[in-house]
Symmetry: C2
Subunit: 249 residues, 2 copies
C-alpha cells in the first residue's frame, strides 16, 4: 500500500508573497499538476528571503516528504539567496557549476551580451546538483537529493516543472468526482458523515460556497480505486436527490 | 526597536488547497491587510484536514509569532475538524459554546429552520475562546490565546478578519515604494547590491517579470522610516536612469 502513495511538499520563498505585493500562482499550479500525475502534495510553506528560515523549512520538509519543490530566489540580485540556503541545508559548498557557466556563457555571447559576475551568480548551485532546464531564459534550476529548486516567475516555474515531471516517481492517482449540491452544509452534514463512514477508502470533502446571499456546497469524492469512487459518488448523488425531494414536500 | 515589529503567521487548512481544487484567496488578502496596518506576516503553512498535522503546525507557529490566523475547517461537516484540533493544541476541551448556541439558535429560529445537531457543531470551540463575529452567516469564528480561527470561504474570512483587525496590536508600518525598471536583473544586480549595502535600514527586493519574450524588473524598497525609504528610492531611480543612459550610448 505504501508504494501507492508518493508525497511532496512545496516551499515558496519570497518576501513579496508575505507582503501581499505578489499573489502566488505557483502553489495552485504545482497542486494541479501533482494531483494529475499521482503525487500527493501534503504541505506548503511560504517563508521570507532569509537564509535561516529557508534552511529550517527545507530541512523539515525534505526529511518528511519524498519530494520538495521550491519556487523563487534564484536570480542574480542580492535578495536571491535560495542556492546558498539549499547548499547550507545539505551542508555542501555553493559554487559556480561548470556546465551552467558554459551554457549561460554561450547564450549571452550569442546575444552579444556580457556574462557579468552577477549573471554568473545564476550559475551557482550546491555541489552535486543536477540541472533543471530552463527553456524560457536559459539559467537553469537545479535539483539535489529530493529537492527541486525552480524560479518564482510563473512562466519559468511552469517550464522548469514541465521538465521535472517526467523524471518523478508517481503513485496511484487519487481520482476525484465532484457533485454540486444546492444546499448548505447544515442540511447535508449528517447523511454525508454516514456516507463517509460507509465508504472508508474514499475521502469526501464538503466545500461551501457563498453566492448571492445563499450557501451551496460542492461535494468532492476522492479515492485511488475507481470502483470505490463511483460507489461513493452514487451514494452522494442519491443523498442530494433525497434532500431535494424532502425539501420540495 | 523590538516593539516596532509585530509578527504573524497564517495556517491555511484544507485538502482542497493541496489538491489544487481550490485556489487559495485568503493568504494574499491577509498579507495585504496585515501589511497595511503594520503587522509583518512572516510565515504561511498549508496543511490538510488532519488533526495531527493541524496541531503540530499550530503549536510551531503560535509559539514563534505574536499572532496566528487560520482559515478553513469550521463548518458543520465531518471534514471540519479545526475547532477540535485547536482545542487539542491548547490542551483544553472542545465544547458547545453557550453564547454561540444562543446566537445561532435564535438565528435559525428566525429563519424557520431547525437548529440541527450538525448545525450545532458550528457552535463548538475550545473552552476559553472568544467569538469572532460573522456578519455573513452568523456561525462565529473564535480566538484563543494568540490564535484567530476563521472560515475558509473568502467572503466570510474577509468579514471575520475585518472584525479582528481593530483589536490587534500593530507595529510601525513597513512603508514601501516601487520603481519600475525596464531592464532584467542581470543588468542591475551590482549597483542594486551597492545601494542595499549603503541603505541597511531598508529592504530592497527585485522582482523579475517576463512578458513578450523580455525580462523587466520591479524594484521594491521597504523601510519603517520614511526618510530612509525616500533616500533609497532616489538612489534606485538614479541607478535606473544611469543604466538607461549607458545603454542608449
Amino acid at each position: 500500500m505504501t508504494d501507492e502513495v508518493v508525497t511532496a511538499a512545496m516551499l515558496a520563498i519570497g518576501d513579496e508573497l508575505l507582503s501581499g505585493r505578489t499573489k502566488d500562482k505557483n502553489i495552485g499550479h504545482l497542486a494541479d499538476i501533482l494531483t494529475a500525475i499521482g503525487i500527493d502534495l501534503e504541505e506548503v510553506r511560504i517563508v521570507p528571503d532569509e537564509e535561516d528560515r529557508i534552511v529550517e523549512a527545507l530541512n523539515a520538509l525534505r526529511e518528511r516528504y519524498e519530494y520538495v519543490f521550491t519556487s523563487g530566489g534564484i536570480g542574480p540580485t542580492h535578495d536571491d539567496i535560495t542556492a546558498d540556503a539549499v547548499a547550507k541545508a545539505f551542508d555542501v559548498p555553493c559554487e559556480h557549476d561548470a556546465a551552467a557557466m558554459k551554457l549561460m556563457g554561450d547564450n549571452y555571447a550569442a546575444r552579444g551580451m556580457e556574462f557579468t559576475e552577477s549573471r554568473q551568480r545564476m550559475a551557482r548551485m550546491p555541489r552535486g546538483s543536477a540541472h533543471i532546464a530552463n527553456p524560457v531564459s536559459t539559467a537553469p534550476g537545479f535539483h539535489i537529493g529530493n529537492v527541486y529548486v525552480m524560479a518564482g516567475v510563473p512562466s519559468v516555474f511552469q517550464a522548469m516543472l514541465d521538465n521535472v515531471i517526467p523524471t518523478l516517481r508517481v503513485g496511484k492517482k487519487l481520482l476525484s468526482r465532484s457533485v454540486n449540491c444546492p444546499f448548505g452544509e447544515g442540511a447535508i452534514a449528517v447523511p454525508l458523515r454516514n456516507i463517509q463512514a460507509i465508504h472508508p477508502d474514499t475521502i469526501i470533502g464538503s466545500y461551501p460556497k457563498y453566492e448571492n446571499g445563499k450557501f451551496s456546497t460542492e461535494l468532492v469524492i476522492r479515492a485511488r480505486e475507481e470502483e470505490k469512487l463511483l460507489a461513493a459518488e452514487s451514494a452522494v448523488k442519491e443523498m442530494v436527490a433525497d434532500i431535494a425531494t424532502q425539501s420540495a414536500q
